[in-house]
């Protein structure tokens, strides 16, 4: 396997269950990855349902999913749950994904598009095919985020063979999914990436936002390596595709 050819541990070290490693001895997360869940439609379990656009027929319909939330339901505060429901009703207008806005964290991880991890000792770059969103994980803490942003500031460290990423400085503009699950700018996300064999990453994210939820909650799912020959990220520059939607009303009439 290509990934195993990368680096062999120094003589004398036990190698049995360690998996592929980078030159600096860390689990090798390099490569192109993608989830297979329907988390981006709805983090909670959901039966299939008709979509919001009749002309799209089955193409626009929501597929079913068993849910990725531990404990099945997201622990909203009562008033926040009301907001989530309004969000859902108005999702065509309100879901930032419709407008090709940056997806934030953790949504970027489970968009139905691949992403590529470029792992160096000081930084781990995660480049997402969707809207060429990207974030750099600082492996050395640079201090508090200087400003809030859509993708936040990510600081990483290794706990054994698990990459732990602490994300702060997130603004309140993103959603967790297409079902209206949302957060405030107090959002704090801690992700954990652990290789389970060379082609599977087990992913967990703990969500903490005291303004919206009664307690922290967790999602988890596997992320699969894209194994096609010569696989690469391609462009999904969707800004162009939403211009008619967002600016068509200002277009000069013929």
């Amino acid at each position: 396997m290509a990934t195993l050819a990368l680096s062999l541990p120094a003589a004398g070290q036990a190698t049995a269950a360690r998996g592929p490693r980078t030159a600096d001895g860390k689990p090798n997360l390099n490569g192109i990855w993608q989830v297979l869940t329907t988390a981006n439609w709805d983090l909670e379990g959901h039966a299939a349902a008709a979509g919001p656009m009749i002309p799209l027929g089955a193409i626009g319909a929501m597929p079913p999913g068993q849910g990725v939330v531990e404990g099945e339901t997201i622990p909203y505060k009562p008033e926040a749950l009301a907001t989530k429901k309004t969000n859902f009703t108005n999702r065509l207008k309100l879901d930032p994904e419709v407008k090709c806005y940056l997806p934030g964290v953790p949504r970027a991880t489970y968009m139905p598009f691949p992403f590529q991890i470029v792992q160096t000792p000081q930084y781990i770059l995660m480049s997402y095919e969707y809207a060429n969103a990207a974030r750099t994980i600082y492996m050395k803490d640079p201090g508090p985020a200087p400003i809030d942003s859509w993708m936040g500031q990510s600081v990483g460290h290794w706990e054994g063979d698990t990459l732990v990423v602490d994300v702060t400085g997130l603004n309140d503009q993103t959603w967790f999914d297409r079902a209206g699950d949302f957060h405030s700018d107090a959002l704090h996300v801690v992700e954990r990436y652990t290789l389970r064999g060379p082609d599977t990453l087990m992913y967990e994210a703990t969500i903490d936002d005291k303004n919206v939820f009664t307690k922290p909650w967790k999602i988890s799912m596997p992320i699969y390596r894209r194994l096609e020959k010569n696989v690469q990220l391609m462009e999904f520059k969707c800004v162009e595709f939403v211009e008619e939607l967002m600016y068509g009303q200002y277009r000069k009439k013929p």
Binding site: L6, S7, T22, A23, D24, N30, K99, C100, Y101, L102, Q116, V118, Q119, T120, P121, Y123, L125, S127, N132, A133, A134, T136, P142, I147, S149, W150, M151, Q173, N230, Q232, L233, M234, E235, K237, V239, E240, E243, E244, M246, Y247, G248, Y250, R251, K252
Partner: protein, 326 residues
Amino acid sequence: MKRYSIVLGIAAACLGAPLVQGQARVKAVAYVVPRTADGQPDLQGIWNNATITPLERPADLSGKAFFTPAEAAAYEKEWLQQNNRDRRAGEGASDVAGAYNQAWFDRGTKVVPTLRTSLIIDPADGKIPYSAEGLKRLAAAAEYSRMHPADGPEDLALTDRCLSWGTAGPPMLPGPYNDNYQIFQAPGYVAIVVEMIHDVRIIPLDGRPHLPANVRQWMGDPRGHWEGNTLVVETTNFTGKSHFRGATQNMRLVERFTRTDANTLTYDFTVKDPATFTKPWSASVPMTKAAGPIYEYACHEGNYALPDVLAGARAQEKKAAGGARK
């Protein structure tokens, strides 16, 4: 032994914290490029390519390939004065348009260290060698723009539409501000993060073929390999929509990255497009280590300008139509 040219400090774009960099003429010290763990020459770090040297040689410098140091200093002073003067005309629209001084931009303050009067190094006249057909297409596009400045979003610049900035290209050319890049390397890949607009060029080094010819992308499709210490990137599969300096979708680009010292990356590129240029042409844009960090440029998410430009145009038309009816 090689001699190295002057290394100049260039103000870091985003933080405003100046890079501390002495001017020095480095004598006969061979720079040994450090290596990444997998043996690639190490190009990693945060880089900035801001410069006041224009792509093409200005008309009034025709025939003059290089400044003398004194001329360069004078040029820089003059440039700064010109771009910082108060151009407000005192009346409506042009008052707003002319109200931008250097506080709003970060184009840099220096010419390139080679003191060349253009970024273009070939042809010798420092100008883009347009073919007749290329010029015709450019003129037609300019005419169309004049007639349809803002009918719809497609009439506006790619920057205004938050689709693509000149800093990303490729090729990667400095722009009005935030000419910042961060390079990452992992086995088999070089990744270039371009601050505007959070574009990431992921360049595979394994010799795989390009995408199929019918697949076209804004930033094309790059393939890299090492020639000694120089990263050579060949990019094809452009769309017709990026039209770099008028080029068609059949443009082919070759870029060369060489780390000449700890704080300098030389970046040379060659553009080929027989439908637009009479011959291939090349430019050289030095990149300098910068402090960083790279910020998030959420261009589209904050793009109030585009709908305002369009709505404004519609309002103007309405006003004009109302006036005509009287």
